[in-house]
């Protein structure tokens, strides 16, 4: 891909988790917390309904980075996020990443992941090696 410089964006990632996604992620990740899978339980603890796993949302931020490096799983060297809101199934998630530093093939990024304007991850910082594996 073309060289990325400060201020450039990585390709935007848009994904809409389906109603069953949290169950598949719970099984795959081993996180048994019923706030992500049982609507009655979620409501009992004061949530509007089941919420997305924060680490699934973080995995979408990771995926946006890996995709920008041609899908190479070695490319993402570091990722730090803060979880600042609840994500919900059946709403489109938009992941927007910009380059804040660029040195040779290594870039540092800033990412926001939002649903309907509600930022569920912000101040995410990543380090991506664009030449990894080449």
């Amino acid at each position: 891909m073309a060289k990325l410089g400060v201020g450039d964006s990585l390709p935007e990632l848009r994904v809409t988790p389906d109603a069953e996604l949290t169950k598949r992620y719970a099984a795959a990740s081993g996180d048994p917390n019923p706030i992500h899978t049982d609507p009655d339980f979620a409501k009992k603890v004061g949530l509007p309904g089941v919420i997305l796993h924060g680490l699934w949302t973080m995995a979408q931020v990771a995926r946006a980075h890996s995709a920008a490096a041609g899908g190479d799983p070695r490319a993402l060297r570091r990722l730090e996020v803060q979880f600042r809101g609840m994500g919900f199934p059946e709403q489109e998630l938009v992941v927007r990443t910009t380059v804040t530093k660029a040195e040779d093939a290594r870039i540092v990024t800033d990412t926001v992941a939002e649903q309907a304007g509600n930022q569920i991850i912000r101040n995410a910082s990543g380090t991506l090696e664009l030449s990894a594996g080449e």
């Binding site: 699934w56 979408q60 799983p73 730090e80 979880f83």
Partner: protein, 146 residues
Amino acid sequence: MALKTDAVGKTWDGVDFDVDAERIAQYADAVGEPSPVHRDADAARAAGFRNAVAPPMFAVVYSAPAMGPALFDPDVEMNFAAMVHGGQAFEWGEPVCAGDTITTAVTCRSIEERDGKGFYVFESVSTNQDGRETVKATWTNIVRGV
């Protein structure tokens, strides 16, 4: 009530996780990672990996069995009913492939009160069967109303 901080500095014994190809594929499906290198050993080897390779965030899966004993330790005494996952950081090393055994050891880095909230910070370090570090992670849990 002052926050209990007895667990700061405590390290828990390493917990092993055997990585198999099915679990990598299941995880890749759940997070939407499309590449065949996560599902097909031949495709992974052609790309320079030892075997089907995990996406970076698979670190969550192999770290989880080590995080449980730390989070539920009575010395930590965290109120789960009021807990949210506040932040997460990973720094990756060696890729993780099917057939690996990953050992993860957890340390409690800090327990601090700020603005009426408890911040519980744990660090985990994961290494593979050859002693190579695969990930170093920082897990921040926030408990309201401490």
